[in-house]
Structure formats: structure tokens, C-alpha cells
């Protein structure tokens, strides 16, 4: 009898022989049973400000207990966390033993208001996120998912029940880019972003702008128009600055002008909150009222320097409500 199995968590649908692992390296077929080998075994743990996710419209300045395990279902040539994402669990030197209850207890002891599943790709440690999310919810913590959103609809829909916010990468509005640079496809990512929105999870989108590869203004415009249409104009978009990394060291960091141009283009399409990341001190890190231009939240890097919103998230001048989760 064949012990081969098919993983249906992400669009890869890996067919895994007995003893083998999926493309993510951490979902392993053991005798015809699929095992999540990094369950309760994070390899990266930090307390970060919410802005580092980045989430700019979700509990500004709040400390988030952030974890990540080995493994990823994409293989981006420019990965910033490749030491974690492009390895299997057994290859990690640093592994913490934190079952969901212990994880939540530790986060609460550190006065964190939320757990973030991040660093590599939380889709691949799905079961750990789901169980931890349930325990965290029961104890008054929020759950934040930082993802490339390469996941099938049914599992994502189920996971959304425990998620409060997500920052999802939209790496390019170009299927060819996804195939060449990320070893994935565009369509499932777009579907996942729509699912987050439909399921009521607060969503922010990140687009890492890589010189010559995905900085074409026409494509950026098309991406933003799609966002306005499918996700709504209140969905924040973060244009992030690329730095040469991993297997993509041949390209220079994104020039500030390219980020400015992309931001102007995005604002022109009707998106109301467009940010620039990885460029500390840039005015594109701040939140401005889309109605009267008042400075609402001033940031430097990951730090909130001023916050003028009231508890309901209203502009102090025009009293219009700013989209987001503020308490």
C-alpha cells in the first residue's frame, strides 16, 4: 500500500512520499501521517513594536510577542530571513520549547498585548498558530499574522477565526515575478488577501520595491487599482525599501525617489494610507488624515513619536474616523 500523501495547506499541493518533507521542509510524511515538525518549537522569539510587522493602523506602539519557526513555502531570492525560512526544523541550532499555553503565559508575563506569527512564514506552522491563537484569545491577547499569503482558501478561512490582524506581502502584481523570484504564483495570493478582508481580519499590505524587477509604475498603478477595488481604499499599503540579500545581491537598494514615485502613484489611485518602510525619517512613515491632511501619528523607524488620534481613532481636527483598530 502506498503511503504517499498530498498536503492541501498551500497551493503547492506537495505530494510527499513516506519519510519525505513538503516544499516547506517542515511538514513531513511519517508513515502516511503528515506531521508539523515545528509545532511548539519556535526558533526566533522577540518582543517587537507593532510597527515592525508593519501594522500602522492596529494598536500603535503596542508590544507584540513575536515568534517564528523554521521553514517557508516560498523561496524568495531576496529573502531577509533565509537562515530561518530556508531550513528545516532539525537544521536549527536554536529551538525553544514553547507549547501554546507556555507561549501565551510567557507573552503575558512580558506585558505584551498580542502574539505575532512572523519572521519566516507562519502558514507552514499553521497548527501551532491556530492552537496558540485560540489560547491567546481566551486570555485576552490579540493575534497578528505576518505572511506571504500563499495558502489555500479553506485553511485560511478557518485560521481567520483566531486572527485579529494580518500584514500580507503582495510581492508584485505580476505572475512571472512570483514564478521567477518567489517560486510561487500571484493568483492564490490575491485570493488570500480578499479572504482576509471578507473574514473581517484587519489587513495591511506590504510591497517590497526591488529596482528593475517590480518598480514599473504601470504595474504599481494596476496593483493599487486592484487593491482599491477588491480590498477597499482604507487598506494601508506599505512600500518597503529593498536591500541586497541572500541570492539577490546584484541589485542596489531601492532609491528613495522610486519609493516616492510609487507612493504618489498609489495615492493617486485612491488608496488613503500609503507608507514607506525601511527608510527611517521619511515623511512616508507618518499617518495623515485623508480628509484634511493633519498629521495624526508621527513615526521614526518602528517608533511612534506622536499620536494625536483619540481613543476612537478620530482626527482631532475634522473628527473623521480613521480606519483601523485603535484599542
Amino acid at each position: 500500500m502506498s503511503l504517499e500523501i498530498t498536503c492541501e495547506l498551500c497551493p503547492h499541493h506537495c505530494v510527499i512520499p513516506d519519510g519525505g518533507a513538503g516544499d516547506c521542509r517542515i511538514r513531513v510524511n511519517l508513515g502516511g501521517r503528515l506531521v508539523a515538525t515545528t509545532y511548539g518549537r519556535p526558533s526566533a522569539i522577540h518582543i517587537d513594536p507593532m510597527e515592525k510587522k508593519p501594522l500602522f493602523h492596529f494598536l500603535p506602539g503596542a508590544p507584540v510577542f513575536s515568534i517564528g519557526t523554521a521553514g517557508c513555502n516560498l523561496h524568495c531570492l531576496n529573502c531577509q530571513n533565509w537562515q530561518l525560512s530556508q531550513k528545516g526544523g532539525e537544521e536549527m541550532e536554536q529551538v525553544f520549547d514553547l507549547e501554546p499555553e507556555a507561549l501565551v503565559k510567557t507573552a503575558k508575563a512580558q506585558d505584551c498585548v498580542a502574539l505575532a506569527y512572523t519572521y519566516a512564514e507562519p502558514v507552514v506552522f499553521y497548527e501551532y498558530v491556530e492552537d496558540s491563537g485560540r489560547v491567546a484569545r481566551a486570555q485576552g491577547l490579540r493575534n497578528v499574522f505576518v505572511t506571504a499569503a500563499y495558502i489555500e482558501r479553506a485553511p485560511l478561512k478557518r485560521l481567520c477565526r483566531v486572527l485579529d490582524a494580518a500584514n500580507a506581502d503582495l510581492k508584485a502584481f505580476d505572475d512571472g515575478f512570483y514564478r521567477r523570484v518567489n517560486a510561487g504564483r500571484l493568483k492564490p495570493v490575491l485570493d488570500a488577501l480578499v479572504t482576509f478582508k471578507q473574514e473581517g481580519v484587519w489587513l495591511e499590505v506590504t510591497n517590497l520595491l526591488i529596482p528593475t524587477l517590480n518598480d514599473d509604475l504601470a504595474r504599481i498603478r494596476a496593483m493599487c487599482q486592484w487593491m482599491v477595488r477588491e480590498l477597499g481604499p482604507d487598506t494601508p499599503l506599505h512600500f518597503s525599501r529593498f536591500h541586497p540579500m541572500y541570492r539577490m545581491r546584484n541589485l542596489p537598494p531601492t532609491p528613495a525617489e522610486a519609493l516616492d514615485r510609487a507612493r504618489s502613484e498609489a495615492l493617486d489611485t485612491g488608496l488613503r494610507y500609503v507608507y514607506i518602510g525601511n527608510l527611517p525619517g521619511h515623511e512616508g512613515e507618518n499617518t495623515y488624515c485623508p480628509h484634511d491632511g493633519t498629521l495624526l501619528i508621527a513615526r521614526t523607524g518602528f517608533w511612534v513619536m506622536e499620536n494625536h488620534l483619540d481613543e476612537e481613532g478620530r482626527c482631532p481636527k475634522c473628527r473623521n474616523k480613521i480606519a483601523g483598530v485603535w484599542k
Binding site: S2, E4, I5, T6, C7, E8, L9, H13, V15, I26, R27, V28, L30, G32, R33, L34, V35, A36, T37, T38, Y39, G40, R41, G89, E90, E93, Q94, V95, F96, D97, Y126, E127, Y128, E130, E152, A154, P155
Partner: protein
């Protein structure tokens, strides 16, 4: 004059340093390193006796290969 490749520049610097002997700063750095060595890795590995990797059954899979 042709540019010296980075790798060669480092080894040149290292050779010059070795000829000139270790500075006080180098000795201090070695001492601090030696003192810290016993503590390196504390809390950074799986506790002894714990099985690894985890044996938690995953969701969303089915028996059999791809349906063609």
C-alpha cells in the same frame, strides 16, 4: 596598479598584524571571549530529553498522490 581583491586584502592585513604581534586590545578580546564561552548557548537549544522535531499531526492533507 591593479586593485587587490578584498579577500587578499584581509589576509594581507592579518599577516601584517601577526608580524606586529597582538595588541592589548586583542588580548583583552580573547580573555573576554574565553570567559563568555561557558555561557554561550545557554537557553538556546532544545531542553535535554525533549523529542525533536515535534510529533504533531498536521491538518489539511489526504492520503494518496496527485489525482491526474
Amino acid at each position: 596598479m591593479p586593485e587587490v581583491p578584498q579577500q587578499d586584502r584581509w589576509s594581507l592585513e592579518m599577516k601584517q598584524k601577526m608580524r606586529s604581534g597582538l595588541s592589548r586590545r586583542d588580548v583583552l578580546a580573547c580573555l573576554v571571549g574565553a570567559l563568555c564561552l561557558p555561557f554561550a548557548g545557554v537557553g538556546s537549544s532544545a531542553p535535554a530529553g525533549r523529542r525533536y522535531p515535534a510529533d504533531h499531526e498536521a491538518a489539511f492533507y489526504r492520503r494518496g498522490g496527485r489525482v491526474m
